[in-house]
Amino acid sequence: MRRAIVTGTATVSGIVLLLGLKSHGGGVHGAPQSFSIGPSTDAVPPSGTPTTTPSAGKSTAPARAASGTRTVAGDAAETPYGPVQVQVTVSSGKITNINVLEYPTETGRDQEINSYALPILNQEAMTAQSASIDAVSGATFTSEGYAQSLQSAIDKARA
């Protein structure tokens, strides 16, 4: 399965609105909570250019930098279209980057959809934040697999 790396910088409150991440204890069984992670203070413009690179395909040990930055890959999540795996960079409790390490590319159609979908997922979050948007209506490919893998990465980064 061909894989591509798609990078983008996202602010968490935008992600909250668009993807709906769970904090610990959230969901049906616990009281819903607000998110403690705040917006990134060092957002950089997204690169937006996919490159083809071999990906890990499994969770990697978190990398730690002197500034308290960690890069953590979430578990690969299964979707009806194939596995999705997301990697996040967390700096001082804030997500500063999201990489999609693996996404379904079974058919040409999937590639076409994904070429719209994944960059939109990453980049809408940033634009929504900057434009004081509360929610986005769009051809938004909010894949459960993407959200699950992203949640997994965040949980690992917090651990």
């Binding site: 049906v28 909570q33 607000s34 279209y81 634009t127 986005v136 209506s137 051809a139 490919f141 459960e144």
Partner: protein, 290 residues
């Protein structure tokens, strides 16, 4: 100090001669606004996000949280019945002919009836049988959001915003005097939002159908082939179930017919992004984005 009555803050603020040491040390934050109560739930193959701006405090907040939990449970129950990805859902078994409507959850009959109504309203461009197979998902997602909103309203919330996979139902305002702002994603330039819909009625719904929708090919019900001619079609209405189903139909109709249909229909406005990236819209759109 212990014998003094608790200071009446309003009176203290208006008092002329008060020594600094007797002023309450609490900050009074007239310009701060409490953050909306937020929750997000992965369900139905997408993520539903809630923002409730009038959750309040104390017992009121507990009641709202309770209603939110009920709404989340409702979404999961709807998913159990209607998911076309679950082999054992009522709708999957019905599609395979392994059961009949009478043996399904009563919701199934109700949803199929609503789909029939929308099909009539859209001259058949919306159908519960895209490409000939039973799949009422075009109605179910918006309908699920409406149920969630209803549960919050019953608990007393008049100000909340619920989005699920690109469909948004906004009720009331984000803050007193500050409407909800709902962006329309640009399907061409992925780092942009085309416009921000500023809510002005008590309830507003924004729904977008497009080719980047998850896994779904919007099918032209007359040809059985994927609909063409548009990158996305956004409808703005008041309630999301119909607005979403109509957006699906309008997308399938294509730019000319879709916008004509939307303009002729009361209570909705439409914005379409064509294959070349150009934008067309009904006359009422600019006022909504002001």
């Amino acid at each position: 100090m212990a014998d003094e009555p608790a200071p009446d803050f309003a009176a203290v603020r208006g008092a002329a001669a008060v020594s600094p040491t007797s002023l309450p040390t609490l900050d009074y934050p007239p310009t701060q606004h409490p953050e909306p109560l937020r929750h997000a739930e992965p369900v139905m193959g997408t993520v539903f996000s809630f923002a409730i701006s009038d959750a309040g405090q104390g017992t009121r907040r507990e009641a709202i949280i309770s209603a939110l939990q009920a709404a989340v449970a409702r979404l999961h129950r709807i998913d159990e019945v209607f998911s076309t990805y679950r082999h054992d859902s009522d709708i999957s078994r019905l599609a395979r002919g392994q059961t009949t409507i009478e043996h399904c959850d009563p919701w199934v009959a109700q949803v199929l009836e609503s789909c029939r109504e929308v099909a009539a309203e859209t001259d058949g461009w919306f159908t519960a049988y895209p490409a000939g197979r039973l799949d009422p998902s075009g109605w179910v997602k918006g309908w699920a959001i409406e149920q969630a909103s209803q549960l919050l309203r019953e608990a007393g919330s008049e100000h909340h915003c619920i989005s699920g996979g690109g469909d948004v139902q906004a009720v009331g305002q984000a803050r007193p005097g500050r409407p909800w702002r709902i962006g329309i994603a640009d399907p061409v330039h992925r780092d942009r939002i085309l416009a921000a819909i500023t809510t002005r009625d008590a309830a507003m719904a924004v729904a977008t159908s497009g080719i980047a929708e998850r896994g779904a090919h919007i099918i032209n019900p007359y040809t059985g082939q994927p609909a063409d001619g548009l990158l996305s079609m956004t409808l703005v209405g008041s309630s999301i179930a119909r607005t979403d189903a109509w957006a699906t139909a309008a997308f399938a109709m294509g730019p000319t017919l879709g916008l004509q249909w939307a303009e002729a229909r009361e209570g909705i406005e439409a914005l379409a992004v064509l294959h070349d990236g150009s934008i067309k819209h009904t006359p009422g759109i600019p006022e909504l984005t002001a």
